[in-house]
Symmetry: C2
Subunit: 477 residues, 2 copies
């Protein structure tokens, strides 16, 4: 007999059919009702046992976490909360789960405890839901780009360039620690390392993606990137997945349009395809809110927030306007900001972004045209000579979701900027070639995928939306 999955049976209306299913026991109550899950859906199927006719030793082995194989009859359920159930005719234990030892019991575990058991936390409702949503969201990303004529580009993870400038890098080497060979002058002899030079883990695929956009027109990356920064926060990972589209002939306006359309489209896809998981996560947040003081509760539920983003325009505000709003804001006047906003040119901190998004505009905000000296070397200088065509998309509860820009396409201006910042032209000869041969206006952005998963699932800590998080002092599993 062909094995069915839980989701197939829950959607079936062919009653009285013989069925065959495998999965894990989530709960077992009254010596009669097994809630069985196989990962195909957050929902369990109820399997009803005739315990009077079951071997007592077998009965004792039906514990939370045990793997079982069940044959039985699919019937309409008499009980509440489910439409179908299985009348069990045959039950086999595939793998036991000793209740004295199994860490994932049917009770509330702290997220911290579950992080220490990241290999087992996926067996809980919350993490099952989060990771299924993460998977569907990944697919939505590919679908959006592929259907809109973008080519997926796998930019290198190990990079010989340290000029990407987006943050501290991890070293990659074949040398044993403290045993690197030396040159005659007593320097580390990197020509003897695997790649014949110093190499690091990439912080961004943008520069390589630009070279591809200047031939294929529209490209995107979606791969792991790294930051060797000692940030122990709920918003930072040392290893995270980034999405970086890059489009030839797009200016900053088109770039803003793309980022907004992209985010709305992938959220809509998840709303359409993850109903059960999102409903569970929605209720989880409502319950969590109930335990909080009124002032800290969310104004919208998770589903309302997602719907709101999909249906409303992102507010587009220039940096200069934003500074005016912040300078005149209550928290600034009452000196509540840790970093007071006094003048144009200040770098915006998380507290300022949150004020703009959560208090002032109450919707996603795209800030653009930032001061040149707080942004990266490759951003297009505006005619005013002091701002660049940069943009950040800020989200309530998350902060910066997207950072992007129109790129400086003029070879002379780009070289000047690199000289100013002491970036070696030899290091980026290939990048400069894109401006030397057939240069054109082009734009792109980077979106931290885990922040998007956080927003979509309502999870407060970024460590809970990636299977095995890498953070300072933690590379377990």
């Amino acid at each position: 007999m062909k094995r069915s999955t839980v989701i197939e049976l829950l959607q079936s209306d062919k009653f009285l059919q013989e069925v065959y299913i495998k999965g894990w026991v989530r709960t077992f109550r009254s010596n009669r009702f097994i809630a069985l899950n196989d990962g195909s859906t957050i929902k369990n199927i109820q399997c009803v046992i005739d315990f009077e006719n079951l071997d007592e030793n077998l009965l004792k082995r039906i514990n939370t976490g045990a793997a079982v194989s069940i044959k039985g009859t699919l019937v309409e359920s008499q009980g509440k909360g489910q439409s179908v159930e299985i009348q069990v005719n045959d039950l086999e234990i595939l793998g036991d789960s000793n209740p004295e030892e199994y860490p994932i019991q049917p009770k509330k575990h702290s997220f911290e405890f579950l992080r220490e058991n990241a290999h087992l936390r996926i067996r809980t409702n919350t993490f099952g839901a989060v990771m299924r949503v993460r998977s569907v969201l990944s697919f939505a990303v590919h679908k959006y780009f592929q259907e809109n004529g973008f080519n997926y580009v796998n930019t290198p993870i190990i990079t010989g360039s340290d000029a990407e400038g987006a943050g501290e890098m991890f070293h990659v080497t074949n040398f044993e620690a403290n045993k690197a060979p030396l040159t005659e002058e007593g320097m580390v002899d990197y020509t003897k390392d695997f790649f014949g030079k110093e190499t690091n883990l990439t912080v961004s695929g943008q520069l390589e993606a630009e070279t591809y956009a200047m031939a294929l027109g529209k490209v995107y990356t979606f791969g792991p990137t790294f930051r060797a920064e000692n940030s122990n926060t709920t918003r930072h990972l040392a290893e995270f997945w980034m999405i970086e589209p890059e489009v030839a002939f797009n200016d900053l306006d088109a770039n803003m349009d793309l980022s907004e359309d992209f985010i709305k489209s992938v959220l809509q896809h998840v709303l359409d395809n993850c109903k059960d998981d999102l409903e569970f996560l929605n209720n989880r947040l409502i319950q969590e809110d109930k335990a909080k003081p009124q002032a800290q509760r969310n104004e919208m539920t998770l589903l309302e927030k997602l719907q709101f983003v999909v249906e409303n325009n992102f507010k587009r505000v220039s940096y200069t306007e934003a500074i005016e709003i912040l300078r005149n804001s209550k928290p600034n006047k009452k000196k509540k900001f840790q970093f007071p906003i006094n003048e144009w040119g200040a770098d915006l901190q998380s507290e300022h972004e949150r004020y703009l998004v959560e208090k002032h505009f109450k919707c996603p905000v795209i800030l653009f045209d930032y001061p040149a000296n707080i942004k990266a070397f490759y951003m297009r200088l505006n005619e005013d000579g002091k701002t660049v065509r940069a943009m950040d998309v800020l989200f309530p509860g998350i902060g910066e979701m997207v950072g992007g820009s129109q790129r400086e396409e003029r070879l002379d201006v780009l070289k000047e900027k690199m000289a100013e910042l002491d970036i070696d032209e030899k290091e980026l000869w290939w990048y400069l070639d894109t401006r030397k041969f057939g240069t054109a206006v082009h734009s792109g952005f980077g979106l931290g995928f885990e922040r998007l998963v956080q927003f979509t699932t309502g999870m407060g800590n970024i460590r809970d939306v990636i299977p095995f998080p890498r953070t300072p002092q933690n590379a377990e599993f």
Copy 2:
């Protein structure tokens, strides 16, 4: 006016419409015909210039590689080889390309030369086709798994475990070379490194994926993996992308079925969606073949080969049968194999795999039930006590495309094997937990994505199917 792409215009039948297009000059001949490409398709659109009315200085700047913006009228083409063309009314040079300096001229360049210009080779027909096919193939991978109920899992790139056993690993560290701090005993003090322990780049996500399969049922990874092996061949990269599905309750037969169905399905998707690019690559190979002596030519064209794989069953052969075939083969008897096959238990070399696939069976072959002592610790031991439920899928011209197995689900047998091989249980405590709590039969495989791209595009060197290849002594770009 809205800008169009080349592919949109080539598919259009609305003649005499005003159109607006941007792209790069591929060739310019007779001071009249621009072949314009924007990456949206391998095909160029012909733009016809009235050179007598064009400024001479502008005319001189229409060089191969230059970026241009064109407005004009779409008309039925009079010339051969295209159905439509643009009568140019307005031409603007966006970015020049000095023909004295631009490396990518409209002539045949060697692949070696193009590898040194990996940032520009994407501007050639061959690499444009290869990378568009690679992109569509990636999407086919995600589509296949998502439509079949698999969840995408991002397993960690930086790993604290060195027990994966699939090959030599690169070290990841925050220490400066030769400046790692020491403990009181004079050992390298890894507690002071970023992750508080020794870390490496992953060689496989399998072990982590198994923990997810034992909760979500069906999962797959698709991400970069690494080998610090000094293999300077046309089949090896230090950084490559791997696809690793893992399925709870699947035995080895189901695993073979999955691998065959998966490969056929993604190839069919590419056949359906990359017609122009595949046709170009098909012709490229036919031309290449013409320059070869008869004996070295391909028996089938690229398109015939792809069609053949999609339509025919893979041949399934046990290791034991394969050894018999090889032992009795002509090259073995005539001592033509570098490694003669004398007895059961020998590890198969590339020459043996090629003989089986290319000479004997002439189709993809799945070898299964290998001797335990030439395979990894986690593979399911057969009842004979000497073979394991391993499988390799071998492809003509490529060799090993897939390696997989049913996993050892019995805690005691697994522990015994690890003890034999001196693998520390403490190192893999979390992996053992999957056998301790709710263990079950499960299987999976790894497929090297670049080898699949090689097979699909007919490219002979693996360095030509990934944008920026990483190999010994090479991490440029």
